[in-house]
């Protein structure tokens, strides 16, 4: 079988088949073949011509997604800014948990704020006029994944907390007693922590809007 044809097939092996991808596949193959034939005509040996034609495209991911010309550094800076804000909110939300003696959450949130702050400030220093293509669909997919991750995290955490807290009643027939407001506070805090983390998926949800805002319009400058 034709080596170029095989190569193009392999480029598309992890892509969902559709009429759009089938057309793109034909187009890429015909252009690669044209390049190879052109190189052979220029006197290159067949193997070298095939190698060079293949090198023209090493992945089709960036072609299939919906690409947007973007001010990448501004985009990155605004993303960090949003995450920084979410981190600060998380830190504020963590303060009540100190009252019931849970310190690690507040300390962790504070360290996260410091880290995001540093990332934000270094990103701000980078060349703001730099442009590159960013995949819009990949951005949306990323947002969905963050929500999924948080949902799983929340479910696992609350299931684990519930099992530890109330399982003692089921497994050891030793009922869990809530003796006072402090005890209740500790129990609530354990559910509250994973719930408070929701600030991150909410923040990340803004990424597609941030991406739109940082589009470089064609020839408008």
């Amino acid at each position: 079988m034709d080596e170029l044809k095989q190569y193009v097939d392999s480029l598309f092996s992890h892509q969902k088949a559709s009429s759009e991808t089938a057309d793109l596949k034909d187009e890429i193959y015909s252009n690669m073949l044209a390049r190879k034939n052109d190189l052979v005509q220029q006197g290159f040996p067949e193997a070298e011509a095939i190698k060079q034609a293949k090198a023209g495209i090493v992945s089709v991911d960036s072609i299939i997604g919906e690409q947007q010309l973007t001010y990448v550094n501004r985009y990155k800076t605004e993303k960090f800014q949003t995450l920084l804000l979410a981190g600060i909110i998380l830190w504020i939300l963590s303060i009540p948990t100190i009252l019931v003696g849970i310190k690690f959450f507040s300390v962790g949130a504070f360290l996260l704020v410091v880290l995001l702050g540093i990332l934000y400030l270094t990103s701000r220093k980078k060349e703001p006029s730099l442009v590159a293509f960013v995949d819009k669909q990949a951005c949306k997919k990323g947002i969905k994944n963050v929500w999924l991750l948080w949902s799983i995290f929340f479910l696992v955490c609350s299931a684990a907390v519930s099992a530890v807290l109330f399982g003692s009643n089921l497994w050891f027939s030793r009922p869990r007693t809530i003796t006072g407001p402090y005890q209740l506070g500790v129990i609530i805090a354990r559910y509250y922590l994973p719930l408070a983390m929701v600030v991150f998926p909410i923040a990340v949800s803004n990424f597609s809007k941030i991406l739109r805002d940082n589009e470089k319009m064609n020839g408008n400058e």
Partner: protein
């Protein structure tokens, strides 16, 4: 920023216009477009294939170009592109914009030290 970066950034903003320019002469398929731009640039600029396909996709979405399948040659379907009247208009605008930008940049960067 290194020089290479600036120059590639400057060029990147004009890829769409490059493609429209070579399509204005005649309908062409992908590799032909790359070759024509390379020739026109005096062998100084070769458009990369991924950039070609994303540009073509964008231009077609904006109705600046139309595509059609040509005859099967050597066992491969070739996709040809044709510039539309909107595309020609866009190209003219891009040329005017480039001329005025070039004037400004030259004036500032290469003008005398005391001028007006």
């Amino acid at each position: 920023m290194p020089f290479e970066n600036i120059s590639s950034n400057l060029i990147r903003g004009n890829i769409d216009a490059f493609i429209l320019k070579v399509l204005q002469e005649q309908d062409r398929y992908g590799y032909e477009i790359i070759k024509s731009i390379l020739r026109k640039s005096g062998n100084a600029y070769e458009l990369k294939e991924p950039s070609l396909y994303t540009s073509l996709k964008r231009l077609e979405k904006e109705h600046y170009i139309q595509s059609y399948w040509g005859d099967e040659s050597l066992g491969a379907r070739r996709k040809y592109y044709h510039i539309t009247s909107d595309g020609i208009e866009y190209l003219h605008r891009a040329i005017l914009q480039w001329q005025s930008a070039q004037k400004i940049i030259s004036k500032v960067l290469m003008g005398g030290t005391k001028n007006g």
